[in-house]
Symmetry: C2
Subunit: 140 residues, 2 copies
Amino acid sequence: MSYIPPDRQTLDAILDTVNFNKDGLITAMAQNAEAPHVILMLAWMNREALGETLRTGRVCYYSRSRGKLWRKGESSGQTQNLVSARLDCDQDAILLLVEQKGVACHTGRRSCFYQEVTSQGLRSIMAPEILPEQLYSSTD
Amino acid sequence: MSYIPPDRQTLDAILDTVNFNKDGLITAMAQNAEAPHVILMLAWMNREALGETLRTGRVCYYSRSRGKLWRKGESSGQTQNLVSARLDCDQDAILLLVEQKGVACHTGRRSCFYQEVTSQGLRSIMAPEILPEQLYSSTD
Protein backbone atom coordinates (compact mmCIF):
# COMPACT_ATOMS: atom_id res chain seq x y z
CA MET A 1 0.00 0.00 0.00
CA SER A 2 1.40 3.37 -0.91
CA TYR A 3 -0.09 6.82 -0.91
CA ILE A 4 -0.85 8.57 -4.20
CA PRO A 5 -1.59 12.28 -3.80
CA PRO A 6 -4.65 13.78 -5.47
CA ASP A 7 -4.17 16.58 -7.97
CA ARG A 8 -4.65 20.18 -6.87
CA GLN A 9 -8.32 20.45 -7.76
CA THR A 10 -9.23 17.12 -6.12
CA LEU A 11 -7.20 18.08 -3.05
CA ASP A 12 -9.05 21.39 -2.73
CA ALA A 13 -12.37 19.55 -2.98
CA ILE A 14 -11.29 17.17 -0.20
CA LEU A 15 -10.12 20.05 2.01
CA ASP A 16 -13.47 21.78 1.46
CA THR A 17 -15.28 18.82 3.05
CA VAL A 18 -13.21 18.95 6.27
CA ASN A 19 -14.88 20.44 9.33
CA PHE A 20 -12.15 22.55 10.87
CA ASN A 21 -13.08 23.78 14.35
CA LYS A 22 -13.47 27.43 15.39
CA ASP A 23 -9.67 27.66 15.65
CA GLY A 24 -9.33 26.27 12.12
CA LEU A 25 -8.03 22.88 13.27
CA ILE A 26 -8.81 19.18 13.13
CA THR A 27 -7.35 16.41 15.26
CA ALA A 28 -4.94 14.03 13.56
CA MET A 29 -3.92 10.65 14.91
CA ALA A 30 -0.90 8.80 13.65
CA GLN A 31 -0.96 5.01 13.57
CA ASN A 32 2.13 2.96 12.79
CA ALA A 33 1.57 1.37 9.37
CA GLU A 34 4.18 -1.32 10.05
CA ALA A 35 2.77 -2.20 13.50
CA PRO A 36 -0.81 -0.98 13.28
CA HIS A 37 -1.71 -1.81 16.87
CA VAL A 38 0.59 1.06 17.86
CA ILE A 39 -1.04 4.48 18.01
CA LEU A 40 1.86 6.89 17.86
CA MET A 41 0.48 10.30 18.72
CA LEU A 42 -2.32 12.79 18.48
CA ALA A 43 -1.76 16.30 17.17
CA TRP A 44 -3.53 19.03 15.21
CA MET A 45 -3.65 20.26 11.63
CA ASN A 46 -4.93 23.43 10.06
CA ARG A 47 -5.94 23.54 6.40
CA GLU A 48 -2.43 24.41 5.30
CA ALA A 49 -0.84 21.54 7.27
CA LEU A 50 -3.39 19.02 6.06
CA GLY A 51 -3.00 20.25 2.49
CA GLU A 52 0.78 19.95 2.66
CA THR A 53 0.52 16.46 4.18
CA LEU A 54 -1.86 15.21 1.49
CA ARG A 55 0.08 16.91 -1.31
CA THR A 56 3.56 15.73 -0.31
CA GLY A 57 2.91 12.50 1.58
CA ARG A 58 5.16 13.82 4.36
CA VAL A 59 3.23 14.46 7.58
CA CYS A 60 3.00 18.10 8.69
CA TYR A 61 1.05 19.15 11.78
CA TYR A 62 0.18 22.57 13.16
CA SER A 63 1.84 23.39 16.45
CA ARG A 64 -0.64 25.19 18.68
CA SER A 65 2.06 26.20 21.16
CA ARG A 66 4.37 27.63 18.49
CA GLY A 67 1.57 28.89 16.25
CA LYS A 68 3.09 27.55 13.06
CA LEU A 69 3.44 24.52 10.81
CA TRP A 70 5.25 21.61 12.41
CA ARG A 71 6.89 19.41 9.81
CA LYS A 72 7.22 16.27 11.88
CA GLY A 73 10.87 15.34 12.20
CA GLU A 74 12.31 18.57 10.81
CA SER A 75 14.43 19.05 13.94
CA SER A 76 14.54 15.49 15.31
CA GLY A 77 14.79 13.55 12.04
CA GLN A 78 11.89 11.35 13.18
CA THR A 79 9.78 11.91 10.06
CA GLN A 80 6.45 10.32 9.16
CA ASN A 81 5.66 9.19 5.62
CA LEU A 82 2.01 8.91 4.82
CA VAL A 83 0.63 5.52 3.78
CA SER A 84 -3.10 6.20 4.11
CA ALA A 85 -5.28 9.04 5.40
CA ARG A 86 -8.85 8.44 6.58
CA LEU A 87 -11.40 11.06 7.60
CA ASP A 88 -14.05 10.18 10.15
CA CYS A 89 -17.81 10.28 9.69
CA ASP A 90 -18.24 13.92 10.68
CA GLN A 91 -15.00 15.03 9.02
CA ASP A 92 -13.43 16.65 12.06
CA ALA A 93 -10.74 14.04 12.75
CA ILE A 94 -8.27 12.25 10.53
CA LEU A 95 -6.43 8.99 11.02
CA LEU A 96 -3.01 8.75 9.38
CA LEU A 97 -1.26 5.47 8.74
CA VAL A 98 2.40 6.38 8.64
CA GLU A 99 5.83 4.92 8.29
CA GLN A 100 7.50 6.33 11.39
CA LYS A 101 11.21 6.89 11.19
CA GLY A 102 12.56 6.20 14.68
CA VAL A 103 10.24 7.23 17.50
CA ALA A 104 7.18 9.48 17.56
CA CYS A 105 7.37 10.94 21.07
CA HIS A 106 9.61 13.80 22.13
CA THR A 107 10.45 11.75 25.25
CA GLY A 108 12.19 9.19 23.02
CA ARG A 109 9.39 6.62 23.31
CA ARG A 110 7.93 5.10 20.18
CA SER A 111 4.44 6.29 21.15
CA CYS A 112 3.16 9.23 23.20
CA PHE A 113 0.56 7.01 24.89
CA TYR A 114 2.75 5.43 27.53
CA GLN A 115 1.05 6.36 30.80
CA GLU A 116 -1.39 3.64 31.72
CA VAL A 117 -4.14 4.13 34.29
CA THR A 118 -3.84 1.40 36.92
CA SER A 119 -5.43 0.79 40.28
CA GLN A 120 -2.22 2.23 41.77
CA GLY A 121 -2.17 5.39 39.64
CA LEU A 122 -0.41 6.22 36.38
CA ARG A 123 2.31 3.80 35.35
CA SER A 124 4.75 4.08 32.45
CA ILE A 125 4.39 1.04 30.19
CA MET A 126 7.04 2.00 27.66
CA ALA A 127 10.72 2.84 28.03
CA PRO A 128 12.49 5.50 25.95
CA GLU A 129 14.32 4.00 22.97
CA ILE A 130 16.53 7.04 22.52
CA LEU A 131 17.52 9.87 24.86
CA PRO A 132 15.62 13.11 24.20
CA GLU A 133 18.99 14.94 24.15
CA GLN A 134 20.02 12.77 21.21
CA LEU A 135 16.77 13.44 19.36
CA TYR A 136 17.28 17.17 19.28
CA SER A 137 21.05 17.49 19.48
CA SER A 138 21.51 17.96 15.75
CA THR A 139 19.71 21.30 15.53
CA ASP A 140 19.01 22.62 19.03
CA MET B 1 -5.91 -8.10 30.37
CA SER B 2 -8.71 -6.53 32.32
CA TYR B 3 -9.20 -3.09 33.75
CA ILE B 4 -9.11 -2.58 37.51
CA PRO B 5 -10.41 0.82 38.60
CA PRO B 6 -8.40 2.93 41.04
CA ASP B 7 -9.96 3.92 44.35
CA ARG B 8 -11.53 7.36 44.71
CA GLN B 9 -8.43 9.10 46.03
CA THR B 10 -6.13 7.61 43.37
CA LEU B 11 -8.67 8.46 40.69
CA ASP B 12 -8.83 12.08 41.82
CA ALA B 13 -5.02 12.28 41.71
CA ILE B 14 -5.03 10.91 38.15
CA LEU B 15 -7.73 13.36 37.06
CA ASP B 16 -5.71 16.21 38.57
CA THR B 17 -2.82 15.45 36.19
CA VAL B 18 -5.00 15.69 33.06
CA ASN B 19 -4.66 18.84 30.96
CA PHE B 20 -8.24 19.64 30.03
CA ASN B 21 -8.45 22.38 27.39
CA LYS B 22 -10.11 25.77 27.85
CA ASP B 23 -13.48 24.12 27.28
CA GLY B 24 -12.68 21.55 29.98
CA LEU B 25 -12.19 18.69 27.51
CA ILE B 26 -9.61 16.16 26.34
CA THR B 27 -9.67 14.08 23.19
CA ALA B 28 -10.33 10.37 23.61
CA MET B 29 -9.59 7.73 21.00
CA ALA B 30 -11.11 4.28 21.16
CA GLN B 31 -9.10 1.34 19.82
CA ASN B 32 -10.60 -2.12 19.44
CA ALA B 33 -8.95 -4.33 22.07
CA GLU B 34 -9.86 -7.49 20.17
CA ALA B 35 -8.59 -6.18 16.79
CA PRO B 36 -6.14 -3.46 17.85
CA HIS B 37 -5.32 -2.32 14.32
CA VAL B 38 -8.85 -0.90 14.23
CA ILE B 39 -9.25 2.63 15.54
CA LEU B 40 -12.93 2.94 16.26
CA MET B 41 -13.59 6.62 16.89
CA LEU B 42 -12.45 9.90 18.34
CA ALA B 43 -14.58 11.84 20.79
CA TRP B 44 -14.26 14.13 23.80
CA MET B 45 -14.40 13.81 27.58
CA ASN B 46 -14.76 16.34 30.34
CA ARG B 47 -13.56 15.57 33.87
CA GLU B 48 -16.89 14.03 34.83
CA ALA B 49 -16.98 11.73 31.76
CA LEU B 50 -13.38 10.63 32.22
CA GLY B 51 -13.96 10.06 35.92
CA GLU B 52 -17.05 7.96 35.25
CA THR B 53 -15.21 5.95 32.58
CA LEU B 54 -12.25 5.20 34.85
CA ARG B 55 -14.47 4.48 37.87
CA THR B 56 -16.94 2.17 36.12
CA GLY B 57 -14.94 0.70 33.23
CA ARG B 58 -17.83 1.60 30.94
CA VAL B 59 -16.86 4.29 28.42
CA CYS B 60 -18.64 7.63 28.77
CA TYR B 61 -17.85 10.60 26.53
CA TYR B 62 -19.01 14.20 26.62
CA SER B 63 -21.21 15.22 23.71
CA ARG B 64 -20.26 18.72 22.60
CA SER B 65 -23.34 19.04 20.40
CA ARG B 66 -25.74 17.96 23.12
CA GLY B 67 -23.75 19.54 25.97
CA LYS B 68 -24.03 16.53 28.25
CA LEU B 69 -22.54 13.17 29.16
CA TRP B 70 -22.76 10.59 26.41
CA ARG B 71 -22.75 7.08 27.82
CA LYS B 72 -21.66 5.25 24.69
CA GLY B 73 -24.33 2.78 23.68
CA GLU B 74 -27.06 4.04 25.99
CA SER B 75 -29.44 4.48 23.06
CA SER B 76 -27.85 2.18 20.46
CA GLY B 77 -26.74 -0.67 22.72
CA GLN B 78 -23.25 -0.46 21.16
CA THR B 79 -21.39 -0.10 24.47
CA GLN B 80 -17.65 0.02 25.07
CA ASN B 81 -16.04 -1.77 28.00
CA LEU B 82 -12.68 -0.41 29.02
CA VAL B 83 -9.67 -2.73 28.87
CA SER B 84 -6.88 -0.17 29.22
CA ALA B 85 -6.60 3.64 29.32
CA ARG B 86 -3.38 5.44 28.39
CA LEU B 87 -2.64 9.14 28.69
CA ASP B 88 -0.22 10.76 26.29
CA CYS B 89 2.98 12.61 27.17
CA ASP B 90 1.38 16.00 27.67
CA GLN B 91 -1.77 14.60 29.26
CA ASP B 92 -4.27 16.17 26.88
CA ALA B 93 -5.29 13.03 24.99
CA ILE B 94 -6.26 9.56 26.11
CA LEU B 95 -6.21 6.28 24.24
CA LEU B 96 -8.82 3.73 25.29
CA LEU B 97 -8.55 0.05 24.48
CA VAL B 98 -12.14 -1.14 24.52
CA GLU B 99 -14.29 -4.16 23.93
CA GLN B 100 -16.75 -2.77 21.42
CA LYS B 101 -20.19 -4.31 21.42
CA GLY B 102 -21.36 -4.22 17.80
CA VAL B 103 -20.21 -1.21 15.83
CA ALA B 104 -18.75 2.13 16.94
CA CYS B 105 -20.04 4.47 14.23
CA HIS B 106 -23.54 5.95 14.08
CA THR B 107 -23.55 5.08 10.35
CA GLY B 108 -23.47 1.38 11.24
CA ARG B 109 -19.80 0.93 10.34
CA ARG B 110 -17.44 -0.67 12.81
CA SER B 111 -15.19 2.40 12.73
CA CYS B 112 -15.82 6.09 12.08
CA PHE B 113 -12.65 6.34 9.96
CA TYR B 114 -13.99 4.98 6.71
CA GLN B 115 -13.37 7.79 4.23
CA GLU B 116 -9.99 7.28 2.63
CA VAL B 117 -8.18 10.02 0.75
CA THR B 118 -7.32 8.73 -2.72
CA SER B 119 -6.01 10.33 -5.89
CA GLN B 120 -9.64 10.35 -7.07
CA GLY B 121 -11.08 11.98 -3.93
CA LEU B 122 -12.65 10.50 -0.80
CA ARG B 123 -13.61 6.85 -1.05
CA SER B 124 -15.53 4.75 1.45
CA ILE B 125 -13.43 1.74 2.46
CA MET B 126 -15.91 0.17 4.86
CA ALA B 127 -19.50 -0.92 4.44
CA PRO B 128 -22.15 -0.54 7.16
CA GLU B 129 -22.63 -3.75 9.15
CA ILE B 130 -26.01 -2.69 10.45
CA LEU B 131 -28.55 -0.14 9.26
CA PRO B 132 -28.52 3.09 11.27
CA GLU B 133 -32.32 2.77 11.66
CA GLN B 134 -31.78 -0.53 13.44
CA LEU B 135 -29.15 0.96 15.74
CA TYR B 136 -31.49 3.55 17.15
CA SER B 137 -34.89 1.95 16.68
CA SER B 138 -35.17 0.75 20.28
CA THR B 139 -35.32 4.21 21.85
CA ASP B 140 -35.81 6.82 19.11
